[in-house]
């Protein structure tokens, strides 16, 4: 709709651009609230962390390639695996998916922005600052070394006295703010900003997946915030929550941590399946099979994921009867994933598959996730888990799930959606080379780890003795990991290359069915001048030409057409049926989210260096930013 000036109203693209644009240069950079800029920023920042986490993995693999080697010291190795896990979970997988959701949700819903654009900017700044906070530990040579799940009492003040663990514990609390406010924003956006006619049973499956993910975040993240928050109270203020000989409980920490930690696996996995549910239908040229089944599976997973956390604790000596429950639930959660799996197969079954790079990543995902899912069933079996938990078998399992079944869809998503975001396509030739290198490298790197686990190799050891039968397999694993890294490098190169040299994408390079492909690539600042009207699950396949709404006179309809865009408004629709029932002003660019985020960062800095004055200053800055933010007047918004 951005392509032509609106004949009826006389509103031009130029008019709208003047209303919606950011200030040029640095002021615009720091004050933008545009979900597209923020989403891309999320993606780029996450990939910077991905790059670092990949390097830590390669150093670890170099160390483990031979027994008794001295590539790094034991304490360096321990910090490497701590930061690798922390980075991959908190600073890559979670935020990169948030980035895609940020960018895509409003476009797929036919909205002009997110429900709370300033909150959106705020959650990005928190993510960035918390990542910088955690990595600042390297600047003073004190990186965290307590493992990515930071079990007490090892991570308590007695056994980890330095500031290392404070970077980690405070950093986890810090980054949780970003995830939580992001989830709130997703939920409200999904329920209130859908285009007229996009009833809940017409939402794209990616939207369903983000909805499921956001609800899991809201209920799960408080648990990890409490776990690491109490740990920091112990460390900084001398409380005894996790000090066993003074009445604390070390298992309480584990329960709190995994009450978040297992849903977190699905928080990452579910949006990745949402991406797959968009890519497979497009390249099969068929609607997703079993739409209702798949949506129901996503919701079922969100519920069941809260009943499996104890399977991380099967070796802690809990009563067998209690563990049997969690064993059973951990088996049951396979079923909704199985439903999704066969929905994808059924979609492909009658279709003509176009083997684009994105589709290759989707098929690679299926083959890898199948194995990760099967080993997931195995570790749910209590006595088997006793044998393999905390061994390389489990390392293999969760890399098949969190690397294979999450990172592969993310790479597929780059090939699929980057043309929309940048206006330029990545090279398919390089893409296919990257896919095959990654796919082969991945399996060479991670499959032998199953066997290493069976041969008794425990997790998190910085070295091992010769003669245990592990030597050859470790060489193979290391070789595979370097191949995998090279494969990811090809895509990163391809991506950078495409920004300048890629072929122009056009609006809809893949012949896809959802609304993001109806606008230009990249979309204009306001996404849609007039809001599309949806009458199908596949508007771009079934509704040609795609109809757009016209503004009416009342509150409910006045923002539907370009007139709404001209006054910086966005239509609000009902939660289930998406009937227009209001108009919402969208805030203009502002520095306030950055001010609030900086204030909070200074509070955390004060806690870290144990300086009350710094903390108070940060709190004052945050309070000032927040007060100004909440001091709503119409002039703020228009």
């Amino acid at each position: 709709m951005a392509l032509t000036d609106d004949v009826r109203t006389g509103i031009t693209e130029h008019d709208l651009h003047e209303i919606w644009k950011d200030a040029p240069g640095i002021p615009g950079f720091f004050s933008t609230v545009d979900h597209k800029r923020i989403g891309l920023r999320y993606i780029y920042t996450s990939f910077a962390f991905f790059f670092v986490a990949g390097l830590t993995a390669l150093v670890m693999r170099a160390q483990l390639s031979a027994p008794n080697s001295h590539v790094v010291s034991p304490s360096t190795y321990n910090s490497l695996f701590t930061m690798h896990g922390t980075t991959m979970i908190f600073l890559f997988n979670t935020p990169v998916l948030a980035g895609f959701a940020n960018y895509l949700l409003p476009l797929q819903l036919g909205a002009r922005d997110m429900a709370f654009p300033r909150l959106n900017a705020f959650s990005y700044w928190i993510f960035l600052l918390s990542g910088v906070f955690i990595y600042a530990s390297y600047l003073i040579g004190k990186p965290p070394d307590g493992g990515w799940f930071g079990y007490t009492p090892l991570t308590g003040g007695t056994y980890s006295g330095g500031v290392n663990l404070d970077f980690w514990g405070l950093g986890i609390v810090f980054v949780g703010i970003s995830t939580t406010v992001g989830a709130v924003n997703f939920i409200v956006t999904i329920f209130k900003l859908r285009a007229p006619g996009m009833t809940v049973n017409r939402m794209p499956m990616f939207v369903w997946s983000i909805l499921s993910m956001a609800f899991m975040v809201i209920f799960a993240v408080p648990a990890v915030t409490v776990a690491t928050g109490l740990l920091e109270l112990d460390r900084l203020f001398g409380t005894k929550f996790f000090v066993p000989h003074l009445g604390g409980s070390v298992l309480l920490y584990q329960h709190l941590f995994w009450f978040w930690g297992h849903p977190e696996v699905y928080i990452l996995f579910v949006p990745a399946t949402g991406m797959i549910s968009m890519i497979i239908p497009t390249f099969s040229r068929r609607p997703l099979a079993g739409y209702v089944w798949v949506a129901a599976s996503l919701i079922a997973i969100a519920f069941i994921s809260f009943g499996v956390w104890v399977h991380h604790m099967f070796a802690t000596g809990m009563p067998v009867q209690a563990m049997a429950f969690f064993s059973a639930v951990s088996l049951i959660i396979t079923v909704p994933s199985g439903v999704q799996f066969f929905a994808w197969i059924a979609t492909m079954w009658r279709g003509v598959i176009r083997f684009s790079t994105a589709m290759l990543f989707a098929i690679g995902f299926l083959l890898i996730f199948l194995l990760g899912g099967i080993t997931g069933v195995m570790v749910a079996v209590l006595p088997f888990d006793w044998q393999v938990t905390d061994s390389y078998f489990v390392v293999a399992h969760f890399h098949y799930v969190l690397n294979g079944a999450v990172v592969f869809p993310i790479f597929g998503a780059i090939y699929y959606w980057m043309p929309k975001m940048t206006g330029r396509r990545l090279s398919e030739r390089l893409g296919k080379l990257s896919f095959w290198t990654m796919f082969v490298g991945f399996n060479v790197a991670f499959f032998p780890m199953h066997i290493l686990g069976f041969l008794g190799m425990p997790r998190r050891i910085y070295t091992y003795q010769a003669g245990l039968g592990w030597d050859t397999l470790n060489v193979i694993v290391t070789a595979g990991s370097f191949a995998f890294a090279a494969g990811t490098g090809i895509t990163l190169w391809n991506w950078a290359w495409s920004l300048r040299r890629g072929a122009p994408a056009g609006d809809d390079p893949w012949g896809a069915d959802t609304l993001e492909w109806s606008t230009t690539s990249p979309p204009p600042d306001y996404n849609f001048a007039a809001t599309p009207v949806v009458a199908s699950r596949h508007p771009l396949w079934d509704q040609r030409p795609l109809p757009h709404a016209v503004s009416g006179d009342d509150e409910a309809t006045r923002s539907l057409g370009p007139e709404g865009a001209l006054v910086h408004e966005i239509p609000v629709t009902t939660g289930i049926d998406a009937v227009p029932h209001g108009s919402q002003r969208i805030p203009h660019p502002t520095y306030l989210p950055l001010v609030l985020a900086l204030g909070i960062a200074v509070v955390f800095l004060g806690l870290l260096v144990n300086a009350v004055l710094v903390g108070v200053l940060g709190a004052a800055l945050a309070a000032a930013g927040l007060t100004r933010w909440l001091w709503r007047t119409d002039t703020d918004l228009t």
Binding site: L251, R286, V335, V352, P458, T463
Partner: protein, 303 residues
């Protein structure tokens, strides 16, 4: 795990081969479906028709077949679990405490303590009490069975039988700090007679020096900081920070199975343990060559 030598490991290995057969079948069938689904429409303009409806895929592949397989696994899980770790009559009781980064091993009924080496008689039920007074570790002997965490403030028990004689590698399986990797131990399963001899030797420790050299070594041991952390039964050395050394000379390895126990390794260990196992709590001990030689001889004589 493929080379099971204990009651629990045997059962789990059986369970594994059942699961492996199911998994291989599932992977072959589902993987086959993926590849066929991806390829069968090739060369056709609109895809190939099929008698299998979309709902059939979801009902059969997604719901019914997985549920059936999971039911089988649930039954097997409950059956296997209920057979394992059950109390048996007249077990041999052993108390193991995870330390940073070694294992204290006590035989409470026999009233002696050793370290990093657990001797058990083949065939007799064994009940190992597992504790920690510091961080969390996990006690794991892959060839004998699964893991049990050492949780400070909680007493855990692991019950098993060794089915064949041999020396099995044990490892710490829960990350516990800088030397987690070198927190190993050995389980020596031996025939009852040999085990009884081993126990008998511990009931009458031979800590008295038998030569001039070992006598000098004992003097060095008691004079230096050694006795502050280590115990040698029958002497004034009663420290409990480090491993009990009463039977040190009979042990197979030094430093929780970090290096084999021989005089050369021991001398290096005493002089500079940090170069062999960086980050551990034992400080270096500077001794004249003659004194070191005597101390090594004394320690190797303790049996």
């Amino acid at each position: 795990m493929f080379d099971a030598r204990g009651s629990e490991a045997h059962r789990v290995a059986g369970l594994w081969w059942l699961m492996f057969a199911l998994a291989a079948g599932v992977y072959a069938v589902v993987g086959g479906f993926i590849l066929v689904a991806a390829l069968r429409g090739r060369g056709t303009p609109e895809g190939r028709a099929s008698r299998i409806t979309e709902n059939a895929f979801i009902w059969l592949g997604g719901l019914l077949v997985p549920t059936a397989i999971l039911m089988v696994l649930a039954v097997v899980t409950v059956q296997t679990t209920s057979h394992l770790r059950r109390p048996e009559r007249d077990p041999l009781r052993i108390e193991v405490v995870g330390k940073r980064w070694w294992w204290q091993v006590r035989y409470p009924a026999q009233r002696f303590t050793t370290a990093n080496e657990v001797h058990v008689p083949v065939g007799r039920p064994v009940e190992i009490g597992i504790d920690s007074d510091n961080v969390i570790h996990s006690f794991w002997v892959p060839q004998l069975g699964g893991k049990v965490d050492t949780i400070p403030g909680q007493h855990n028990v692991w019950r098993f039988r060794a089915t064949r004689a041999g020396t099995y590698l044990g490892e710490c399986a829960e990350y516990c700090g800088v030397q987690h990797a070198n927190m190993r131990f050995l389980v020596v399963a031996e025939p009852a007679a040999a085990f009884d001899r081993w126990v008998a030797r511990h009931l009458t420790p031979h800590s008295a020096p038998t030569s001039d050299l070992t006598e000098k070594g004992q003097l060095v041991f008691l004079r230096e900081t050694c006795a502050g952390c280590h115990t040698v039964a029958g002497t004034t050395a009663q420290g409990d920070e480090g491993p009990d050394l009463t039977d040190f000379g009979s042990r197979l390895a030094i430093g929780a199975d970090t290096v084999p126990n021989d005089p050369g390794n021991l001398a290096g260990w005493i002089a500079d343990p940090q170069s062999i196992k960086p980050g551990i709590l034992m400080p270096p001990t500077a001794l004249a060559p003659g004194e070191l030689h005597a101390l090594v001889a004394y320690l190797e004589s303790l049996r």
